[in-house]
Each structure stands twice: as structure tokens, then as C-alpha cells.
């Protein structure tokens, strides 16, 4: 199971990095101390030599890590679901920090409430002003409580719609980040029109004349994901998943047994490759072996390249051509 493999890799990472730190420390000390008295130099040199002996160990650890990483190469759909939900996976705030500049956050639906499970505002992407909006998840339990685990209420969808409508008004491209277990199934959420809020977003997003790009970064479940995902182009991170419902919900509806979620994953066709084949995803963005949480920098670099080329391509379309391309994309499905 990927979970155990990842834990082993994490432990090896920690050991390797501590050994490497010691090596850097020892080398630095050696250089520094070489300017000092010879006897001190000798002590430091012993330190360095001691470390050199452990170099073999370092190689061994790295070999082990490579071995475990190779086990992460062909993942099953349920292992991808695990990675898609990994608490250390980069979330929208990480992506904004890594790929955008000049971010100005916009809060609230300006009707009733501020829903923190949706995060967004105006920013620059390669210098181009864009609107960026997406689901917000936390890395810790406390953060997740604050962001309601990325499950929006109608106010969140209306907030997203408000700032996307502004993008349309000012001719800014829209980039959305999808990562949600689904729309929040709560009492107030229903009273405030969860269905209406999602429906309205689908309807309005279909009409925009500005380019809309959606990036599925983690799990994209149900109408709660699609509500900010009616896009000209849909990009998916390699280990992201996108489906009608969470595998647990799917198993519970189909077999009245949420425990059969792994079995559900196999049938649901929810991986990036499946979605590409279905014509829903247009590009797949490579992740480091073992998942995006292992190296944010690499993910940002890969996503930046695909996102920029996709945006450039869409910006060549006329406003009405852009709208038409999006309508045609969804008109074709099913």
C-alpha cells in the first residue's frame, strides 16, 4: 500500500537530508577551520573523515529510496485517490504563491457571508492580470476546520461567481483550482440554495467571453467541483482525480456500503488518464514520483509551463470564439 511506502520514503528522506546537512556542515567547518590553528584543523578533519565513511551509508539509503520510489510509479486508482487527498499536497494558496505575483485577495459573496472554503482574487500570471479562484484546503486539522475541508456552502459558490463575473467585465482570463470532497451537505447550505448556487455558476461560466482554465489539483468530486470548472481547458495534475462523487459516496449509493470504496475506485474511471480519454481533461501535468507533496518546486515548474502555453493559445481566440469553444467542449460530451 502506497501509504506505507510513502512513510518509508519520508523517513529515508529525513535520514538522507540529515546526513547531507552534516556533510555540508563538516565541509564548511573544514574550510573555515583550515585558517586556524593546525590542531583544531586536525579535529575537524577527523569529523570530516568520519562523515566520509558514512558516505557509503548515504548511497545505500538513496538506493533504498529509489527502490521505494519505483514502487510509486504505477499507481492504482485508489492509491491516486490517497495522493490526491494527501494533507501535504500543495493547495491553492501554495499555487498562488508559487506561480502568481501581485495577488490581491477578494473576500465574501457581498450578499450574506464569507465562505473560507473558496479562496481567490486578482493576480498576475507572467505579468498578465488574471482572476484566480479555487477550493481552499488546509494542511492541518485546525486549518481544515477553518476551511470546512474545502466543502463550500452556497455563499462560497456565489463568492466565486462574483469574482469571476468581474473577470468577465474587465476582460481578465480566469484560472480556477479544483480540490474538493464536494459541496457541503448541511442544513443551512440546503436552505440557502446549494443547488441553485451551483446551477447558476454552471450557467454563467458557460457564457464568459474570457478564457477559463481549470486545474484539478487534488480531488474533484461532484457538482461541487464542476461549479467552478466549466472551462475552455481542463488541466489535471497526474495524481489528481475527478469524478461524479467521492468513492465512499459512490460505494454507499451503489452497494449501500461505503467500505467498498477501493473497489469503487477501480470502476469509476476517475484518474487523469481516464478523464483525458473521456475528453474532459485536456492536459495532464507531471508530478514528481511519489506525489506532488514531495517537491512543490517541480510541480510549480511543470504546471507553469502547461498553464502558460494553454493560456497563450486561448488568448489568440476572439471573445465570441472563446465562448463558442467552451460551449462546444461540453456540448460534445455524452
Amino acid at each position: 500500500m502506497i501509504q506505507k511506502v510513502l512513510t518509508k520514503i519520508d523517513k529515508l528522506d529525513a535520514k538522507i537530508s540529515s546526513l547531507e546537512q552534516r556533510a555540508i556542515g563538516a565541509t564548511k567547518a573544514l574550510v573555515k577551520e583550515s585558517l586556524k590553528a593546525p590542531d583544531v584543523l586536525r579535529d575537524t578533519r577527523e569529523d570530516y573523515e568520519a562523515w566520509s565513511e558514512s558516505e557509503d551509508e548515504l548511497d545505500k539509503l538513496k538506493d533504498m529510496r529509489d527502490h521505494f520510489l519505483s514502487e510509486c510509479e504505477n499507481l492504482t486508482p485508489d492509491e491516486k485517490v490517497f495522493l490526491a487527498r494527501h494533507p501535504k499536497r500543495p493547495h491553492i494558496d501554495d499555487f498562488i504563491g508559487g506561480l502568481f505575483t501581485d495577488f490581491f485577495e477578494q473576500k465574501g459573496d457581498h450578499l450574506f457571508d464569507e465562505d473560507k472554503s473558496i479562496y481567490g482574487g486578482i493576480a498576475r500570471f507572467h505579468g498578465i492580470p488574471v482572476t484566480v479562484v479555487g477550493h481552499m484546503k488546509g494542511h492541518t486539522m485546525e486549518e481544515n476546520m477553518e476551511y470546512n475541508f474545502g466543502m463550500p456552502c452556497p455563499e462560497g459558490y456565489r463568492k466565486a461567481l462574483r469574482i469571476m463575473n468581474q473577470a468577465e467585465k474587465f476582460g481578465r482570463p480566469i484560472i480556477t483550482f479544483i480540490d474538493t470532497p464536494g459541496a457541503y451537505p448541511g442544513l443551512e447550505a440546503e436552505e440557502h440554495g446549494q443547488g441553485e448556487a451551483i446551477a447558476m455558476n454552471l450557467a454563467k461560466m458557460s457564457q464568459y467571453h474570457v478564457p477559463v482554465i481549470s486545474v484539478v489539483t487534488g480531488e474533484g468530486n461532484s457538482g461541487g467541483a464542476l461549479a467552478i470548472g466549466v472551462a475552455n481547458k481542463v488541466l489535471m495534475l497526474e495524481n489528481a482525480v475527478y469524478s461524479i462523487l467521492s468513492p465512499e459516496g459512490f460505494a454507499s449509493i451503489l452497494w449501500k456500503d461505503a467500505e467498498r470504496h477501493k473497489e469503487a475506485c477501480k470502476l469509476m474511471k476517475l484518474t487523469a488518464d481516464d478523464l483525458y480519454e473521456a475528453g474532459v481533461a485536456d492536459e495532464i501535468v507531471k508530478e514528481p514520483v511519489g506525489g506532488a507533496q514531495r517537491n512543490y518546486g517541480e510541480v510549480f515548474k511543470n504546471l507553469d509551463r502547461v498553464l502558460y502555453s494553454t493560456l497563450k493559445e486561448l488568448m489568440t481566440l476572439s471573445p465570441s470564439g472563446c465562448k463558442r469553444q467552451r460551449l462546444e467542449k461540453y456540448r460534445k460530451i455524452g
Binding site: 459541496a183 457541503y184 451537505p185 448541511g186 442544513l187 447550505a189 440546503e190 436552505e191 440557502h192 440554495g193 446549494q194 443547488g195 441553485e196 451551483i198 446551477a199 447558476m200 454552471l202 450557467a203 454563467k204 458557460s206 457564457q207 461532484s222 457538482g223 464542476l226 461549479a227 470548472g229 466549466v230 475527478y242 469524478s243 461524479i244 462523487l245 459516496g249 459512490f250 449509493i253 451503489l254 470502476l267 469509476m268 474511471k269 476517475l270 481516464d274 478523464l275 473521456a278 474532459v280 460551449l327 461540453y330 456540448r331 460530451i333 455524452g334
Partner: protein, 282 residues
């Protein structure tokens, strides 16, 4: 209101459905038992009452063709895309067999019937979801039929009436089912841009992806009394919030009180209400 005799102007394969509602043809019972109050009443009384329980007033779900027979002028019914049947886009295990079973049970090719016809002489486009077929769930074919009906109404500049009744997405069609939400919502928005009148009629039950797409986008939203209408199902909500839900939660009357329904319309007033609205927009 159309009568049973009016319905004889429907094609034969449609007629099978009319007046039979949930009953098998081979054993024609004299009495029907209400699922809510458990009391029996004469089938004839049920029919005269449009399948609303003559004893307690509970609404029995009705078939798509039967509903159309109640609102359309005699001899005006013309079905659209009647031969489109369900597909199996994901090759989901046992789905084909289940579909076959549903087709045999209901005599329907899918959970949506789309048609044109006249109400009081005004031509309209109707789409009706039928909860007997796979709980009226949104398959790619349901989404496609509804979209084609909307596009037909847009092209011919006709009023559009959609009767929703759905358990939500068709699980066996996965992402293809989900994408029908975007497709139908986009079609409605194009219809809006062309200035058409869309009356969304919510019937029991309207939930999930149908609620979160075309059903919630009407210019006028009507609902049948006592219908369950919501996005998430009540069981899921109770499990999430660990609280009992208030009485009448997610019912038509509750939605009307919370600002999402224009009017609750009894079945006996369905045709007259639609006619009034169409004439107000003519």
C-alpha cells in the same frame, strides 16, 4: 385539464403508459393502496383525482406520458428524439442488464421524455423526467435529450417546460453523467439569451445534479405539493451534521418559505397555471 379520453389521441405505445401509472397491465386492480396513509381507494377515484390519494391527498408519482396527457391539447403531442436510448459509456459492470430490466419494467427507453405539443393552442416544448426509470437519474442520454429539447425551443422560439423528477446523477455513467450538468445549464443559458420563457416544474423527487443544473434555472419555478427538492439527500445531511432535520425539510412548502419556489401548484391546477403563464408571456 385533459381527460383519459383525450389521451386516446396519443400514439399506441404512449397510450400504454397513460392511466396505468405504476400498475402492471395484466392484473388490473380495482383498488389502489396509498403508500402514505395505507388506505385503499377505488382506482377510478384515483384516476379522477390525477393520482393524488383521494383519502389523504398524498401525491403519487406519475409517468411522463401520463403527465403530458394531462397538460397537452388533444392530438397535439409529438415526441422528440423518441428513439434515443441509454448508452453504457464506461462499460460499467451489469449496467446494460440493469438498463434492459428498467426498459422492460417501464416500457421507456430512458428516464426522459421530450415532446412538443400545444397548451390552449400555444405551441410549447416539454421535457419530462420519469422517476420510474432508474429514479429519473441523469444519464448522458437524459442530458442529451433535455439539451436537444432546449435547443429545439431556442431555435423555434417556443416556451419551454421541464418537469424534473430525479434521484440525481446516474452513478454507472460517472463523469459523463456529471458533465450533463454543464451541458444542460449552458443550453438553458443560451435559451435565456434568446429571450425564451422557461418554466421549471419540480416534482417528487428533484435532487442532486438535476437540482444543481437545469431544474434551478427557471424563469418561473413551480413545485408539486410535498415534493422532496434539494441538492444533498436528507440521509447524507443527517450523517454530516449529526442532527435530526426539521419536519418538512426540503419539501416544496419549505423551499417556497425559503425563497426558491414561485408557487406550489396542485396537479389539478397544473394545466391552467401553465396556460396562464404562457399567455402572460405571449
Amino acid at each position: 385539464m385533459g381527460t383519459f379520453l383525450d389521451s386516446l389521441s396519443f400514439p399506441a405505445r404512449v397510450r400504454k403508459d397513460i392511466g396505468e401509472v405504476f400498475l402492471k397491465k395484466d392484473k388490473e386492480p380495482v383498488f389502489i393502496t396509498c403508500k402514505s396513509c395505507n388506505r385503499r381507494a377505488l382506482k377510478r377515484d384515483w384516476q379522477e383525482n390525477f393520482y393524488v390519494c383521494p383519502v389523504c391527498g398524498n401525491y403519487r408519482p406519475i409517468g411522463a406520458y401520463y403527465r403530458l396527457s394531462l397538460i397537452l391539447d388533444k392530438g397535439t403531442f409529438r415526441e422528440l428524439n423518441e428513439d434515443m436510448t441509454a448508452k453504457d459509456p464506461m462499460g460499467f459492470p451489469e449496467y446494460k442488464d440493469k438498463l434492459k430490466g428498467q426498459m422492460q419494467k417501464t416500457g421507456l427507453p430512458e428516464a426522459a421524455v421530450t415532446a412538443t405539443g400545444k397548451i390552449g393552442g400555444h405551441k410549447v416544448v416539454c421535457a419530462v423526467l420519469d422517476s420510474r426509470f432508474f429514479m429519473g437519474s441523469m444519464s448522458s442520454t437524459v442530458g442529451e435529450k433535455v439539451t436537444r429539447a432546449i435547443e429545439y425551443a431556442t431555435e423555434k422560439k417556443l416556451p419551454l417546460i421541464i418537469f424534473s423528477a430525479s434521484g440525481g446523477a446516474r452513478m454507472q455513467e460517472g463523469i459523463y453523467s456529471l458533465m450533463q450538468m454543464a451541458k444542460t445549464a449552458a443550453a438553458i443559458e443560451e435559451f435565456n439569451a434568446a429571450g425564451g420563457l422557461y418554466i421549471s416544474f419540480l416534482t417528487h423527487p428533484t435532487t442532486g445534479g438535476v437540482t444543481a443544473s437545469f431544474a434551478s434555472l427557471g424563469d418561473i419555478t413551480l413545485a408539486e405539493p410535498g415534493a422532496l427538492i434539494g441538492f444533498a439527500g436528507p440521509r447524507v445531511i443527517e450523517q454530516t451534521i449529526h442532527k435530526k432535520l426539521p419536519k418538512g425539510f426540503q419539501r416544496s412548502e419549505y423551499l417556497e418559505a425559503h425563497g426558491f419556489v414561485d408557487r406550489i401548484v396542485p396537479r389539478s391546477e397544473m394545466r391552467d397555471t401553465l396556460l396562464q403563464l404562457i399567455e402572460l408571456h405571449a
